[in-house]
Subunit: 258 residues, 2 copies
């Protein structure tokens, strides 16, 4: 997906090469591939390759540079991750807002956004945060804000992917390929059939129907029945219809009028 | 935060204790603390404690049980993580939609939601997915959907926290005042009853069950049955049970052996 190529993950002085690999894996799983390392302590390294678990193409393409300024020189937007609010009230965004802004930059101006993560223990320096246009904070548990580097990269890349996909919450489709929602007419046919069998089974008293059919309609209406499902339900009603039982089972029915 | 206590992370047969620790860390960083393990291969274990990195209280409180059914018996909503779309097109939600629904269940009815994650390599079995009311898919790169277990838990817990922090008016639910969602255990009781009656009515051949019960589970799971509705449905099954018909109607049954 083109838009995901507009996002760049920058790791500043990562101390453990395993974390570089884990970050690459998190990136690739979300469809990102641009990784820039600022003065990594050890890279390339076997631990990085091992933790990348198949995302070694991301590692191979990764660039190493000497300073954050170099890493973001050609970016239109630079967002730095911060584990805690800073003294100066810089604008703090959550990962979702950051991803939306990065997406907008990509869509509207074909611009590049860097998402910058600091050292495992100490994060970004104030000087580095000053280079960033925005600060991003993952809204963690204030008593235990202990996300490791790869987990933070995972969350941010997930939001970047969600933004790039244009995904909104909810309203996921209930249907699969090839399924069709039942037509109202067929659903009404099912309700008539259901009522009929419930009366035959003496579960529903037509003289005193109360709210039963309304409750059942409420239940089935909210599921958005598919055509196949209506057929199955009507098949069940036919199979369980007490009149059919009586009729089809000679042992029970033939002597019924004795 | 109270609402986060309504969420439970369930890991089914985790093979590597390190992953249990990493999941606990991801949970605690997002403010979750309820962890249930289904038949973990090795737990407690030093690797789990090491990877938990300070989230050992979550590990200490973790419960181990023998089956997924036990782990979710008292939950109102059960959402299973699936790495790929399944044959029957069950409702797939993304983590955001799942988190919003879990939050709505917590806010409106003080209900518990289980988020269920499968084995590292093979995920959840079809039988386990059938227990779940919803399937959750992290929208990963289709060419490399390689999130490790802790990364998947991290993303889902992040969305749960975002939803818990953000839910105000809340998502639409179908519930009326005073209605309570049925517990998983009661819904399973309904399925057992349904299957039993369908076999008695010769609609379901226990030798060749095909996909019938899965299709019916899919239908009813997506509606989120209320307690009253489960009672009504079971009442209908009792009324339409062919064995009961034969038994209770003297005209039909008493001469049955002629």
């Amino acid at each position: 997906m083109k838009i995901l190529d507009s996002f760049r993950i920058v790791l500043v002085e990562p101390q453990h090469p395993g974390n570089i690999g884990a970050a690459a894996r998190a990136m690739k799983a979300m469809g990102l591939s641009n990784l820039v390392l600022v003065a990594p302590r050890s890279f390339p390294h076997a631990d990085a390759t091992a933790r990348a678990a198949g995302a070694d193409d991301v590692l191979q393409r990764a660039q190493s540079v000497n300073s954050l300024a170099q890493a973001v020189a050609d970016c239109q937007l630079v967002i730095g991750a911060s584990a805690r609010p800073r003294r100066l009230n810089w604008q703090n965004m959550n990962p979702r807002a950051a991803a939306e802004e990065a997406s907008a930059v990509a869509y509207k101006m074909n611009g590049q956004t860097a998402l910058v993560f600091g050292r495992e223990r100490s994060g970004l320096t104030n000087g580095e945060l000053d280079i960033c246009h925005r600060h991003l904070m993952i809204p963690a548990n204030p008593d235990y804000a202990s996300l490791n580097l790869a987990a933070a990269v995972q969350v941010v890349c997930y939001e970047l992917r969600m933004a790039a996909l244009g995904t909104k919450a909810g309203a996921e489709t209930y249907m699969g390929e090839g399924d069709t929602l039942a037509r109202t007419e067929d659903i009404e046919g099912f309700y008539t059939h259901l009522k009929d069998v419930l009366v035959a089974g003496e579960f529903l008293d037509p003289e005193q129907p109360k709210l039963l059919m309304r409750r059942l309609r409420r239940l089935f209406n909210r599921t958005q029945l598919e055509s196949t499902e209506v057929n199955i339900l009507r098949g069940i009603l036919t199979a369980l219809d007490p009149r059919k039982q009586a009729y089809s089972n000679p042992k029970m029915s033939l002597k019924g009028s004795d």
